[in-house]
Assembly symmetry: C2
Homo-oligomer: 419 residues x 2
């Protein structure tokens, strides 16, 4: 991967993780990810490093623009020991794309000047296969002599790279490079409310008691209060995986919420089918509503909600009794329940969820420190419930974590409704 903007910390590298996922799906083992600036010597050094480590395929992203500071194709060609030549068919393709864009913006392009500007991008290593551009930069696949790795050159913008990937994989050069791959299965278990250390304990037990455990590659990771465990194995490891799943189910059954890849968001969406939901948010201030409407089709079940940041908004828009706030404080279970009840009544929904908490950095007290968040749920039968948690981290952590907790509380309440 090249890109001064990635190296200087201003852009996170999206392509590395995305390509890692695609390669894993194909059963290709990824040995190294490297990032450098758009400098010939650095790109060349990385290509040499990767080649000397015996990889079969090098995928580069970035450095394909029309300007002089983009030099990936020329550097790869030199590395593979081939010249660049103008591909006139490709030149026409790029010229057409640029001209079409110009006309869309209402300007009348001078085709010859466009051609000159885009000529650099139509220079292709001799013998290479090019992949049609999504933007203006084509990809190329350079197959070197036997023993040397195949180099697949893709553009840096994630949207372009992702759109061109399927065609790139189908090229003869890439297919040949990945011919020796193993097919893997990959399964994901998601848990909520389980400390990572307890999962580690269970995995140590699994290691001691389940035959074939070591042949499975297990990665666990904590994200936003959930623990995600991904297991990758060859087809004959399926029975071992089932044994691990059974062990975890026995020890952490109540904390496992997904074994089929579904996220809590997808589960809540499915459970809301045929129902309508409203939100009443204080400390999360719209984050739950935004998350519920992330998924396409959410207008079928999201009615709307209220961001009740000031107490006056809780009173005026959610009919919370001012005396209740006076007595218990805005961050309290009675107020959270009243907020949920208010949203449910105002929007006439089947279920409503509320948050009221102290995200920090200010506003904490010995009694209710920063991180204290009250959640309320109201149902159409008139029942309500509330929970209070103390969530760790800074303002942004507390707000994100609260949103995830809300999704899990919704999941639990909706499952009870369905059972």
């Amino acid at each position: 991967m090249t890109g001064t903007e990635v190296l200087t910390g201003r852009v996170a590298d999206e392509n590395g993780p995305w390509l890692a996922d695609r390669l894993l799906e194909l059963g290709v083992e990824l040995a190294h990810i490297t990032i450098c600036a758009d400098r010939e010597a650095d790109i060349d050094a990385q290509l040499r490093f990767l080649a000397s480590n015996g990889v079969d395929l090098i995928v580069t992203s970035g450095g394909l623009g029309p300007t002089a500071d983009d030099m990936t194709v020329a550097t790869v060609a030199a590395f593979c020991g081939v010249e660049l030549e103008l591909d006139t068919e490709l030149e026409s393709t790029i010229t057409d794309i640029v001209a079409r864009w110009a006309r869309k913006r209402g300007s009348d392009p001078d085709l010859e000047s466009v051609r000159v500007a885009t000529r650099k991008q139509a220079m292709v290593p001799v013998g290479a296969t090019w992949i049609s551009p999504t933007g203006t930069a084509p990809g190329v696949v350079v197959t070197a002599e036997s023993g040397a790795p195949t180099v697949l050159v893709l553009p840096g913008p994630p949207r372009e790279l992702q759109a061109m990937w399927p065609a790139a994989v189908e090229t003869a050069g890439v297919q040949k490079a990945i011919a020796g791959r193993t097919e893997y299965r990959q399964e994901t278990i998601r848990m909520f409310g389980l400390p990572e250390s307890e999962l580690a304990d269970s995995l140590r037990i699994g290691e001691d008691t389940i035959a074939g455990f070591d042949a499975l590659e297990i990665t666990t990771c904590l994200r936003k209060g959930e623990v995600e465990m991904v297991t990758r194995f060859e087809p004959d490891g399926a029975a071992t995986y089932d044994a691990i799943l059974a062990l975890l189910d026995e020890r952490h059954g109540t904390q496992i919420f997904s074994t089929d890849g579904a996220t809590v968001d997808e589960q809540v969406a499915a459970l809301l089918s045929g129902r309508r939901i409203a939100t009443a948010e204080s400390c999360t201030a719209g984050m739950i509503a935004a998350r519920l409407t992330d998924l396409a089709g959410s207008s079928a079940y999201v009615a709307g909600g209220v961001v009740a940041y000031e107490n006056q908004a809780k009173i005026g828009l959610l009919d919370v009794d001012a005396a209740l706030i006076e007595t218990h404080g805005a961050v309290s279970e009675p107020v959270a329940e009243a907020m949920a009840r208010g949203a449910l009544a105002r929007l006439g929904t089947d279920i409503a969820i509320s948050t009221s908490g102290i995200a920090g950095p200010g506003g904490g007290s010995p009694d209710k420190p920063v991180g204290t968040v009250c959640f309320g749920i109201a149902l159409a039968d008139g029942s309500t419930r509330a929970t209070t948690l103390r969530l760790p981290g800074d303002r942004s952590d507390v707000r994100e974590r609260s949103t995830t907790v809300a999704m899990h509380l919704l999941r639990r309440a909706l499952r009870e409704l369905t059972d």
Copy 2:
């Protein structure tokens, strides 16, 4: 950097960009970022690659845990040609930390068993300096013989790495490795509504007309509808930078909204001082409210808002006339204005902003395709205004872009109020 979880695409590498930023601030040029799995051969190959490219300092992150699959320290020691030895002072430090955590969780730790479990993390390369752990993993600085790079080993969790960084930089080994650095200045210009290609045109003019242009390192990047241009230069490049800034101001003055590093969020927050704001969101469904409340202290000016996803919510919670929706459709400027007016009146604020749009993938029509978003602003003097845009991209792009546009519309309206 090591970490199977990063390499398999499930976790984005946060440490690379963060360290890149810190090194830049120090004036240290970052040549390569590399990522590999927690495998001895791969870590060693990357260390050798970096050393052979003549770097002065290698920073590693990750692979310092207590379990056997974490092997960074041992691999670095072998690479530097030194043995590991138990540091008893460090062992006590880690044991104390683990025991304190256990007691916090209410369990009574067996100090001897804790000591055994943490012994691996107290093994330090002979002659190395260790950096006190924030979690349980200490950092180490290994200074090899002359000519070889200094290796700084830090833990993988971003929170731990970031907390330990200042102490790591102060160590004699790191100071010696970065002694030859140049101090750089870095300036950021942010623009909104400017195509990246027009900025590129202006920079080409700058290259032709401004002396010393090539000595400045300029990176431009598009993020969420804004263009950010970061310029890095040695102190004697300041006059050249000023000339570039003047050129851009002349050509794109109305699109430049920040030259001092401030984000639009910070500018809106400052402009809202002494005022109160309300939101009325349909397609963004809480994202504007969430963004306004991202900053600490926002409770001083955010009153609250309404997520009016269904038409009934627009009517019931924002007093939008049903006939208006019937006549113009929910995605229309009259409805957006009525929504903003409703939020302003209900919450008694000085300003209110609204969105109503088609985020997709469904719901588009020839007349109002996916990406059509109407924005409304209402002010306390009774005036309203509306804008309609067609935003590119998928559902998530349209919603994020709408949120950014809303911030810029707010900025403009608030500046007019202030002028």
